[in-house]
């Protein structure tokens, strides 16, 4: 695992170099509370100026970039995790307010072209998915995040436990694969236009993003909460 570690990002590097090497990290900046216009400043400087914990910022960037990287529990416990829940909430907002409506606009246009009953079934497949994702997120916002906030502020919170979360945490990327297959393999050639190409890229991007999001919840948030819960008990 040493080789992975040496490739991970460090705080002294320029933020602009990080983004140049991995442009997909751009979409993370807003969610992490960093605005563009950071010039040539180092990651540490930009984070400090934006009130973002540097180690937390790096942790998220590393997870997004290196597929095999799973942070160890000591790494997670050493990192200031106050930014975690706000980050997850902003991510939910980003998916629900930006990405999904964007995809829906393209699919709407495709459904119009398909017309009739087929068009309706096609768009309702997506609307159903969107609703499932929204319910998934609102469950986390209603039950899980307040629990984490309480534990982090040192309150003893027994109303919920992270074991319940693991039990019910469902996969939200699966149906995107279905959608992807339908759109690029099975739509009739008559509806093929820019919308189809655009939406394929959008779905692929969202799928990758959601995979990382799930990863962060399962490999960072869950171990953190398990630790906090057992620390409370003792």
């Amino acid at each position: 695992m040493k080789s992975t570690k040496s490739r991970l990002f460090s705080a002294d590097g320029r933020l602009s170099d990080l983004i140049t090497a991995h442009p997909s990290l751009l979409t993370l900046l807003t969610r992490l509370g960093i605005s563009l216009g950071f010039g040539d400043r180092s990651i540490a400087d930009v984070c400090e100026a934006s009130g973002v914990d540097t180690s937390f910022f790096l942790l998220i960037c590393n997870v997004y970039t290196f597929n095999n990287y799973i942070p160890s529990t000591p790494t997670i416990l050493d990192t200031d995790m106050n930014g975690l829940v706000p980050y997850l909430e902003k991510s939910h907002k980003y998916y629900v307010d930006k990405r999904l409506p964007h995809i829906e606009r393209h699919l709407d246009a495709i459904a119009q072209k398909l017309g009739g009953r087929i068009g309706k079934v096609f768009i309702s497949f997506f609307q159903q998915y969107k609703q499932e994702v929204e319910e998934h997120f609102s469950h986390e916002e209603r039950d899980v995040f307040p629990h984490i906030r309480a534990l982090m502020s040192g309150e003893r919170d027994t109303s919920y436990s992270i074991g319940m979360f693991l039990h019910t945490h469902s996969d939200i990327e699966g149906k995107l694969d279905d959608l992807l297959n339908i759109v690029f393999k099975y739509l009739p050639p008559q509806v093929d236009d820019d919308n189809v190409m655009d939406v394929v890229y959008d779905i692929l991007r969202l799928r990758e993003d959601l995979k990382k999001h799930t990863f962060i919840e399962e490999k960072i948030m869950v171990p953190l909460v398990c630790h906090l819960e057992s620390a409370m008990k003792s």
Binding site: G116, R117, I118, V121, F122, F125, Q128, G174, K175, D177, D178, L179, L180, N181, I182, K185, Y186, L187, P188
Partner: protein, 189 residues
């Protein structure tokens, strides 16, 4: 028709790895592997494989194998083998190849007609019948009763449908069925 694959390889680790890659695929059926060269000729005659996936160091002359003309002989390479020794093979699989490459190599080597590769992915009549009933919101049990087959068979058809189309959810399969004009519009709930 599934292609029957006979693996001839002394290493159990490699045999098992190949088995797990190929058995994942509905188009291949992996026969009991052969690790012992002395039994090779006998096994080929008895099991009549479509594909012989063989470590070239195990045979002196591949042309002398029984039934050489009736089967596709693929070399399984993981060490240096001279070019000359490989010239009588129909294809070459390197064990460092990715899963997808290995499958593709075997599929291409056995594609006798140009249409064969496509038809593998088309749904069979039975699968189409299952799909149509699924799209109408029926349960596995209801489908089994209506088609007069076991629930187990329905599940196996569903697996094949998903494998071929890449679509898992019933809602997604309904859209697929409609796009392929498999449903009478009034039949959809």
């Amino acid at each position: 028709m599934k292609k029957r694959v006979l693996i001839v390889e002394p290493s159990e680790v490699i045999t098992e790895g190949l088995k797990s890659i190929l058995e994942d695929q509905i188009r291949f059926k992996v026969l009991d592997p052969v690790a012992d060269v002395d039994k090779l000729a006998e096994r080929i005659i008895a099991s009549r494989p479509d594909i012989l996936l063989i470590n070239p160091t195990m045979v002196d002359n591949v042309m002398q194998l029984p039934g050489k003309q009736e089967m596709t002989v693929v070399a399984l390479v993981y060490q240096y083998v001279s070019r000359d020794a490989l010239k009588n093979y129909d294809a070459i699989v390197d064990i460092c190849d990715s899963r997808a490459t290995i499958i593709e190599t075997l599929a291409q080597a056995t594609a006798d007609e140009s249409s064969a590769a496509h038809s593998n992915y088309e749904l069979t009549k039975r699968e189409t019948a299952v799909l149509v009933e699924l799209a109408q919101g029926k349960t596995n049990k209801e489908i089994a009763d209506s088609l007069n087959v076991s629930v187990h068979t329905v599940i196996s058809h569903r697996k094949n449908i998903t494998h071929k189309t890449g679509i898992k959810s019933v809602a997604g399969l309904t859209v697929y069925a409609m796009l392929n004009n498999l449903l009478d519009e009034s039949a959809i709930i």
